[in-house]
């Protein structure tokens, strides 16, 4: 089937022209026309091009560009797409940053370039672009930047101009259409017989459809800008030509050129940035996967929520300029004494190197030297042991020996290899905690597959986003997970842990069952096949997902070395090691029992509803393995305490054997921790401080919490609040004054000292609330909490921009992670958490952190919970308290004067308003993290005179 120009209306010639004046965001000084001779044409055929170029602006600024960004739009847009980059690049140059010249072309037959009257297949378009850059006498370094089919053309140019190329940037695009894979449905529709011409040329339907893909929708004025060059069907010929040029079939005339480019990009060594909008019905994540496979060194950022028109949906220009600064321009001022030297004076073009820890070479020696073992260490060491490795509580308690677990892991590992799982492949695990999950997980990591662990607490929509974003090659699931995967179209080949009847298996797309994998694997092992080489400590091992309580859930990548370091931290902190009985009621730690040589059990509970865990179930689990260590989540703990009355004397006896008990995942009140501790009278109660990106950063015991509270009461030092970028010396407290609640104005929740292998520092806030201070251990200075540990995450998955923002550089060879939490250290080295960075209130008199005022307000008898938020512009924000009261309010209202006065007297700093709500919005998973950003927006509406709505 040949698709070509014949199905399109007759093309008409028309010269290039300048865009009309007044298109929003388009500076007329950028526009120029240039006449270019078509290469290979007899008699020197020339075509007029319209392009946007900020070169003259840079000349006027008197700056010398460090290079040129060559921007190529797709179909059916035009150079207007890149207006934001032109503006940002010029603005950056004017502010003294390295100057980038941006040239954004209108491809021939598109935008305001000439209508050539001739169908221009891909190869011609790549040559056209080369003809233009020749005519412009463009010299290097050049960074190509393409979108949509313009991405292909720009890559074609990149492949053909290695001597000029210094980097590649792309927005949603594709260079390869897998044979046999259907092309995206919208394009299939547009290519349908009798549809192509009418859809793309005769009517503006294709254009309108594309413009409707923006999130949020484009303004009418911007839409008008995009439509400006395509007002008549005669001017839309190029749109149809582009669609017709999509090589849907191997025989298509552009297929060979596309294949040439697709293979050519494999050889491009230049730094590469892929910016992606996942909500794209055309260029879905599978095309991103293909590009990453071809250019594995590429930096990738997926803008969650953005789509095909990424250039309109997200600040791609800022991301691009930031990346260019990192990857292409090496800053000459760094470490130099010249000081005022022009940044443009010395430019080096280099392949960027992943900033990571010194790579540790593979081999057990390196692991041992680091004090850690590979995750499968004890599965090898104890493979002949008949001691219990783990116990499944469902349907009835069942002990699994190390011997059996070790064998299963090797069988499944061999089975996975047999069905084609390769090192680096991603395997999503949708299996509830169980012996099956443990065996599959260790089998995956043993063969170098990367396990993807997403929590059902994300909710189905969040989980779908997470699993899709993590792009698993395989999904191992129980029935509910696989049904969801089928219904929601999650990617990956499906493996079921349970057997399904044939028709059912086909219905949900199951290729294999776990039982099959085991027998396939056993056959391989029996035949003498060895398992593949062990992955190295620096290889990726797992993708864990954040809770999503602070924005869309983010995938966090851990290497083998880092996961082993998590195990090591658990060993050092809680003594979990060989022979320890561990009740694992908290997911990330639960899975690490075998890596520690510990005997583990997951109590009988619905993991999607932790608050269903009963005290009896915990006691049974403890009894089943003589546990000395118990890990639980705060939500589970509430119900455990509530159901304690049902415990039998035998249950109490079992619980009396527990030595350490830990509540992890979210803050917990001292009283709840104390009630739970009362059930385990011999146990030390702990709550760790950490996050998905760093699981065990600090730890505090119940006694430690009480000691911290006492020290606040006796405090003689007042933590300083950052003001004007400097810390204020603590005023001395009058010795004879009784302990006041205001003795600790910065307040916060004490989370204890750092764990053995962790370093915690504070980066002080400036007057604008930015954490710019040097990493410091100085006590009583409020700032962002920054951590470093061998068990901190490696990087965020395909979130280059987020990753960059989370890193705190400074010390070569050290990895510092910005937690996004704000707090201070005290003179005893304990960490106090004062809130989240985005919740810091920036008033005209300095910054205020929310937790301290909230704690003081919550001491009022008629307040059950408080949120302290800012309203108004940063720098002149007003402080507002939002309360849950006792008894709860039936609807939102302004606090009565007496309550408002009481709140003001507790807080100390000026409070503009006090509002009361029936309930504060919190995260789904823990019902404890208050969404202060949302409350701030809500309060802003109310306090500007808006209607009383629910927060």
């Amino acid at each position: 089937m040949r698709v070509g120009p014949r199905r399109l209306p007759v093309a008409i010639s028309d010269p290039a022209a300048l865009p009309p004046a007044g298109l929003p965001g388009l500076n007329p000084v950028w526009s120029r026309l240039t006449e270019v001779t078509e290469s290979g044409s007899a008699g020197g055929v020339t075509h007029g091009w319209h392009l946007l170029d900020n070169g003259p602006e840079l000349d006027a600024l008197g700056v010398i560009p460090v290079g040129t960004i060559l921007c190529v739009h797709g179909n059916p847009t035009w150079s207007y797409l890149w207006r934001g980059l032109l503006a940002s690049a010029t603005e950056a140059a004017a502010s003294g940053a390295p100057a980038w010249r941006v040239i954004a072309v209108d491809q021939l037959d598109m935008g305001f370039s000439a209508r050539t009257g001739r169908f221009r297949p891909l190869a011609r378009r790549v040559q056209d672009l080369g003809d233009l850059t020749d005519a412009l006498e463009l010299t290097g370094p050049v960074i190509t930047f393409g979108h949509d089919w313009g991405g292909v053309v720009s890559l074609g140019w990149a492949v053909d101009h290695p001597e000029l190329l210094a980097g590649v940037m792309l927005l949603n695009t594709a260079v390869h259409q897998p044979a046999g894979d259907p092309i995206p449905a919208p394009l299939r529709l547009a290519l349908g017989r009798g549809i192509l011409g009418p859809a793309t040329v005769a009517t503006p339907a294709f254009l309108a459809t594309t413009l409707a893909l923006a999130h949020p929708p484009l303004s009418a004025a911007v839409k008008r800008g995009y439509r400006a060059p395509y007002r008549t069907s005669a001017r839309r010929g190029g749109i149809g030509g582009f669609v017709a040029d999509i090589p849907v079939a191997p025989e298509h005339e552009s297929r060979a050129e596309l294949d040439r480019i697709a293979e050519g990009v494999r050889l491009l060594a230049s730094p590469t940035l892929l910016l992606w909008g996942p909500r794209d019905p055309i260029f879905s994540d599978r095309y991103l996967d293909d590009l990453v496979e071809r250019m594995p060194h590429a930096r990738v950022h997926r803008f969650e929520g953005a789509g095909h028109l990424l250039a309109e949906d997200a600040d791609y220009a800022a991301a691009a300029l930031l990346w260019l600064g990192d990857a292409v321009v090496s800053a000459p001022l760094e470490g130099s004494v010249s000081g005022s030297g022009s940044a443009s004076a010395s430019v080096s073009v280099s392949v960027s190197v992943e900033p990571s820890e010194t790579p540790v070479s593979g081999g057990l020696a390196a692991w041992a030297a680091a004090g850690t073992h590979p995750l499968w260490h004890y599965l090898n060491e104890l493979q002949a042991s008949d001691d219990t490795a783990l116990v499944d509580m469902q349907p009835a308690p069942r002990a699994v020996s190390w011997r059996l677990l070790s064998l299963r892991v090797r069988q499944i590992a061999a089975g996975l290899v047999h069905i084609g799982v390769k090192p680096g492949d991603r395997v999503s695990l949708l299996v509830p905690p169980s012996a099956d999950l443990t065996a599959v997980l260790y089998a995956c990591v043993r063969i170098g597959a990367v396990v993807v662990v997403a929590d059902a607490g994300l909710g189905l929509a969040g989980l779908t986003r997470a699993v899709r974003g993590a792009r698993p090659d395989f999904v191992v699931g129980a029935a509910p997970g696989l049904l969801a995967a089928r219904a929601l179209g999650w990617p990956g080949r499906k493996i079921s842990v349970a057997g399904f009847p044939g028709p059912m298996a086909r219905l949900i797309g199951v290729e294999h069952t776990l039982a099959e994998l085991i027998s396939l694997g056993q056959a391989r092992l029996s035949a003498g096949d060895a398992l593949p080489a062990e992955p190295a400590p620096s290889d990726a091992a797992a993708v864990l997902f954040t809770s999503g309580s602070t924005g869309p859930a983010k995938g966090v990548v851990y290497t083998h070395g880092q996961l082993s370091a998590v195990s090591r931290a658990l060993f050092l902190q809680y003594g979990v090691g060989v022979g320890t009985g561990l009740v694992a009621g908290f997911a990330p730690f639960a899975l690490l029992g075998p890596a520690l040589g510990a005997r583990s059990v997951t109590p009988d509970m619905d993991v999607t509803a932790p608050k269903t865990l009963t005290a009896s179930a915990v006691a049974s689990a403890v009894a089943a393995i003589d546990a000395t260590v118990v890990f639980l989540s705060p939500a589970a703990l509430v119900n455990v305490v509530a159901t304690a009355a049902a415990l039998t004397p035998a249950d109490h006896a079992a619980l009396a054997g527990v030595q350490h008990f830990l509540s992890a995942g979210a803050p917990i009140s001292e009283s709840l921790l104390a009630q739970a501790a009362a059930l385990m009278p011999e146990a030390t109660a702990h709550t760790p401080y950490g996050m998905t990106e760093g699981l065990l950063m600090a730890d505090i015991t119940l006694d430690g919490i009480r000691a911290a509270a006492a020290s606040v009461a006796q405090s003689e030092a007042v933590p300083a609040v950052a003001r004007d970028g400097e810390s204020v010396p603590a005023p001395p407290n009058t010795a004879n004054l009784p302990a006041l609640d205001t003795a600790n104005p910065a307040g916060g929740v004490c989370v204890g000292g750092s764990t053995a292998t962790t370093r915690i520092r504070i980066s002080a806030l400036d007057a604008s609330g930015a954490s710019v201070g040097d990493l410091s251990e100085e006590p009583d200075v409020t700032g962002e909490i920054v951590v470093s540990a061998p068990h901190v995450k490696d990087h965020y998955d395909r979130l280059w921009l987020t990753e960059r923002g989370s890193r705190r550089g400074g010390i070569p060879g050290e990895r510092w992670h910005r937690t996004g939490d704000v707090g201070h250290l005290d003179s005893a080295g304990r960490l106090w958490v004062e809130g989240r960075m985005p919740h810091v209130i920036v008033t005209a008199d300095g910054v205020v952190t929310p937790v301290g005022p909230e704690q003081r307000i919550e001491t009022l008898l008629d307040v059950s919970r408080a949120a302290f938020v800012g309203v108004g512009p940063l720098g002149t924000q007003q402080q507002v308290a939002v309360l849950e009261t006792v008894p709860p309010a039936r609807r939102a209202h302004r606090a009565p004067e007496a309550l408002a006065a009481a709140v003001r007297s507790m807080v100390g700093t000026p409070v503009a308003a006090v509002l009361v709500v029936p309930g504060l919005p919190t995260d789904i998973r823990h019902n404890s993290k208050i969404d202060r950003s949302r409350l701030s927006r809500w309060a802003t509406g109310i306090l500007s005179g808006g209607r009383w709505v629910k927060p």
């Binding site: 005209a844 309203v871 108004g872 512009p873 720098g875 002149t876 924000q877 007003q878 302004r894 004067e897 408002a900 000026p910 503009a912 308003a913 509002l915 802003t940 109310i942 306090l943 500007s944 005179g945 009383w948």
Partner: protein, 329 residues
């Protein structure tokens, strides 16, 4: 320094004249009635009398002065548009001209935040340029034009600065406080809207000290406009409750939806305009907007440029108001 204060018989003008006089300056005042400020020299006259009229009071009053603080204005919610024009625009033009002619070097024009207010909520913005085209009502429109013409006269040897105190109140205020208290006492003070809109106000002593600060800083900050407030926005209902509490009268107990109040305000305004008499209508659209939308400002530039901070907090202001209303023993 020798300073002329116009409009010193008004609530704020009196406080300003007293403040500047107490600071050791030689103060002369100019208005139709006695200022009642001890230690100042009153000159009686009207700013609507053309300055070149022989023996006009203004020419005499400004003679020999080094600075002028111009507060005299027609402050009212409604009235004859021609009067606003004559007093606020024509009067300011006359005073500016007379001051420049007399060799005055500092000129503080006391304006109003309403000169840049288009009826929407203001939450933490700094002083925007006066915009007569957008201003709501004759008062704001004419004050806006007056501010623009005063600032247009700014020159190296004639430093003009505009200050815009927002909702000045305090003991002895007949314009705002007495009316609120009087209406509340008779149970005729409703809350417009739900009463949560954040409003920033200016305690009278703070307004006076800020104007004094602008006079001191005039040569440094000439040509600029500054909004002046306490920097303590509160929900309007809390402010009314504070005022009523200080006067020991019941706080507003009933409310009128903001939209209804605006519509009613427009209607009442129209009726008042048509009917004879000079009293003020109980509600105007402008007032309804003022009392049901947020009005608070970014004070950083004001405080930094004028090297000024408010001395009297909101709560201290309420306490002083209560002392004022407390029956003498």
């Amino acid at each position: 320094m020798r300073v002329l204060v116009t409009g010193a018989s008004g609530f704020l003008g009196r406080a300003v004249a007293a403040r500047i006089s107490a600071a050791g300056h030689e103060v002369r005042t100019f208005q139709r009635r006695p200022s009642g400020v001890p230690g100042v020299e009153d000159v009686h006259g009207s700013i609507t009398t053309p300055a070149d009229t022989p023996y006009a009071g203004l020419a005499y009053a400004v003679n020999g002065m080094q600075a002028v603080v111009h507060l005299a204005a027609k402050v009212s919610l409604t009235g004859n548009p021609a009067d606003f024009e004559a007093v606020n625009v024509g009067g300011t033009r006359t005073v500016v001209q007379a001051a420049a002619d007399a060799g005055v070097v500092r000129f503080v024009y006391v304006s109003s935040p309403s000169v840049a207010h288009a009826g929407r909520s203001i939450m933490g913005s700094d002083a925007l340029p006066a915009a007569p085209g957008q201003a709501r009502g004759d008062y704001a429109r004419t004050k806006a034009r007056a501010e623009l013409l005063a600032l247009a006269a700014d020159a190296p040897e004639f430093s003009v600065v505009a200050v815009r105190p927002h909702l000045v109140w305090g003991p002895g205020d007949t314009q705002l406080i007495d009316r609120i208290v009087d209406r509340a006492r008779h149970g005729r003070l409703p809350l417009l809207g739900h009463g949560a809109a954040l409003i920033d106000t200016t305690y009278v002593d703070n307004a006076a000290s800020a104007i004094h600060a602008a006079l001191d800083a005039a040569e440094r900050v000439h040509g600029q406009s500054y909004v002046i407030t306490n920097g303590e926005p509160r929900p309007i209902a809390e402010l009314l409750a504070g005022i009523c509490g200080a006067a020991d009268v019941p706080a507003p107990a009933w409310r009128v939806p903001a939209s209804a109040a605006r519509a009613a305000g427009s209607l009442i305004e129209a009726i008042w305009r048509a009917r004879p008499g000079t009293d003020e209508p109980p509600m105007t659209r402008f007032l309804a907007e003022q009392l049901s939308t947020a009005h608070w400002f970014d004070q950083r530039r004001t405080r930094a440029d004028l090297a000024w901070t408010p001395e009297v907090s909101l709560d201290e202001g309420f306490a002083r108001l209560a002392a004022h209303y407390r029956p003498a023993p």
